[in-house]
Symmetry: C2
Subunit: 382 residues, 2 copies
């Protein structure tokens, strides 16, 4: 452990079967609550009914329609509703996108200007409305962190945004049983790659954080085939849900150098083509590993040895085997691993390169991934 760090995560987790009913006990009384929802899948899987039952006697209004990769255009409507109704508390019910969107709503209701200004200039964030969540899709970790990703449909842009932590989050693994296979696969990939962004940088910063990161990845590799066989396996889905939360709540990030190049490149692909976040990450991480192989050498070798048990061959061969094993894992859960499979080609690569050059973007743990290196990475993803 070399580096100084600070850590605090105040979110209360309420985890397990039947826990949505605890909303009745956990939500503060005498508040005017805004309940935010996605597109309506919670009406099919019983979650909406459970939430309504728990909210009996509370004073609340509903906002429907926060979409995957939530846009400021949609969120402005929720913010207007919140201002009109003098909302003092928010409950997000849905996947990571609903919680992400709610984080912007929480900061923008007390703000006088336009919400997109807060995304571009976080220093403008002042008072925030407290909020809680009921998470129904394990993936983003938004239920136990202060981060969000907000899109601007008009500008085709997508940026990270930081506000506050949920006061509490309810995680009932049974709510995930009705998720489409593709969403589950993207959630597994998102979780795995959240870990890699915090792990695949430099060695010997923290032996314990390395072990904990490897522990999440080993667990996901064990779980994935069980979930593929039976996605209503409660214990496996519960373990996956726990992994997703633990992968991006700071527990594996103490004193370690982080990367996040893959996420920021992936966001561009989503912003331009609407591809699901986890799917973009899978493709980009493989290109990042290939192009940044020398810089990440020690950590790729450790990753291969400890997570995929790769011990034979030269360093070069072991790194290649590790990248191949990683690709094989993503294919085994049913995801594409190349841009060409999604019909994305050189034109998009050029657009992203030019955006990064224009913004003077510098990504990665050493800040040395600029527009040109991003182009190299994306070409390696074709």
């Amino acid at each position: 452990m070399k580096n100084n760090f600070e850590f605090k995560n105040p979110t209360q987790l309420i985890f397990g079967k039947g826990t949505i009913a605890q909303l009745a006990k956990e939500l503060p009384k005498n508040e005017k609550i805004l309940v935010t929802y996605g597109g309506g899948s919670v009406k099919q899987n019983g979650v909406y009914e459970q939430v309504c039952h728990a909210l009996k006697g509370f004073n609340y209004v509903e906002f429907w329609g926060i979409e995957p990769n939530p846009t400021v255009e949609t969120l402005r409507k929720a913010i207007d509703l919140g201002k009109r109704e003098n909302i003092t508390y928010i409950l997000a019910v849905g996947g990571g996108s609903v919680i992400d969107g709610t984080k912007l709503i929480s900061s923008a209701i007390p703000y006088d200007g336009d919400a997109w200004e807060l995304v571009l200039k976080p220093s403008k964030i002042g008072k925030m409305i407290p909020f809680a969540s009921v998470i129904t899709l394990p993936a983003t970790g938004s239920e136990m962190n202060c981060g969000a990703v907000i899109s601007n449909a008009e500008k085709q842009e997508k940026y990270a945004f930081y506000s506050s932590y949920p006061q509490f989050s309810i995680l009932d693994p049974a709510t995930t049983f009705s998720l489409p296979d593709f969403q589950i696969a993207c959630g597994i990939a998102d979780t795995f790659i959240h870990v890699l962004e915090q792990y695949l940088t430099v060695t010997e910063e923290s032996a314990l954080m390395d072990r904990w990161s490897e522990g999440i990845m080993q667990t996901l590799i064990e779980l994935a085939p069980q979930i593929k066989t039976n996605k209503t396996n409660y214990e496996a889905m519960a373990e996956f849900m726990l992994c997703a939360t633990m992968a991006l709540n700071g527990f594996t990030a103490m004193g370690v150098t982080e990367d996040w190049a893959t996420h920021l490149i992936g966001h561009e692909i989503t912003a331009l083509h609407g591809i699901t976040h986890g799917q973009t990450l899978v493709i980009v991480i493989l290109g990042t590993m290939k192009v940044m192989k020398e810089q990440k050498k020690e950590k790729i070798l450790q990753f291969g040895a400890r997570v995929f048990h790769i011990s034979e061959g030269t360093e070069e061969q072991r790194m290649d085997k590790t990248i191949a094993a990683c690709e094989q894992f993503f294919r085994s859960i049913g995801l594409a691993t190349k841009l060409s499979e999604l019909n994305i080609g050189k034109e998009t690569i050029t657009t992203i390169k030019e955006r990064f050059i224009k913004r003077n973007t510098r990504l990665g743990e050493r800040g040395n991934i600029d527009g040109n290196v991003t182009e190299e990475i994306l070409i390696a993803c074709l």
Copy 2:
């Protein structure tokens, strides 16, 4: 993951070199602060000077003399001082005992009766004075949990006590450089056995929690010889400090069945003979593993395989090898592993057995360790 659970840990960690100076920024202004200390080692290692420097301009009084295994007799004096001075905030500076004692002080200043009543009847705890800590001895995890262990010298008793979490804790690994070798060894053992108490129960409750527990133990096994060679190795001591905090802050306990028999039996040995906590645990855990071998079989086998790489032999042989490897690890850090080495014999065993029978004690993950099984365990520790 089978079991429902709730988790919340609001303590802020401020970790690293030179962080004591941050007290000036983190402590609340306009409070009357009680600063609690141990026996005075902080005057030799520079910690006291750094704290005084940071506290310039704050309104505070000092209380000195919280001993290892803090007694209610000593704490009553601090509580009286706190009441007299109308204390509104407490800063604990020292090892786990100072923080443990401070937790009782925090609850007892606003309480009208005697502090020992709060230890015996936690339901009597009402208002608590908020507190923070500067921890100088990695071991108990008290800097990031709400637990404490309080002794009653007059009655020769020692009980667990639960109040609130430190608002923040400052961990500067450089403060540990002057610790005696024996204290460091006991801290490593205490950390290792905190993990075992949460891990060595039943299998297949949480794959991730298992990995994280194993990760702490693997890290400690790697660190111990580095620390033995050079206890002023900053990076090794920092990693150990992180492990100690992470071993008892709930991060490895989500949804898992816990044991704690070893701790509760160990507390009796400390209460009767004043033996250092970590040293008692080392001896008792080996006896617990031997006597409870059948009940803990699956987990002992997993522990052996993953932490000590034991894969050869029958189940019986692998369990014996695992217990032997564990004993060997404790001996390698310089601790005794048998009661007889400390000149403790049958008389003490009988006293503890009788106490447990009188109290109708039932310990362990299945509540089946009564006075008689405790006697068996302690005989196995001779």
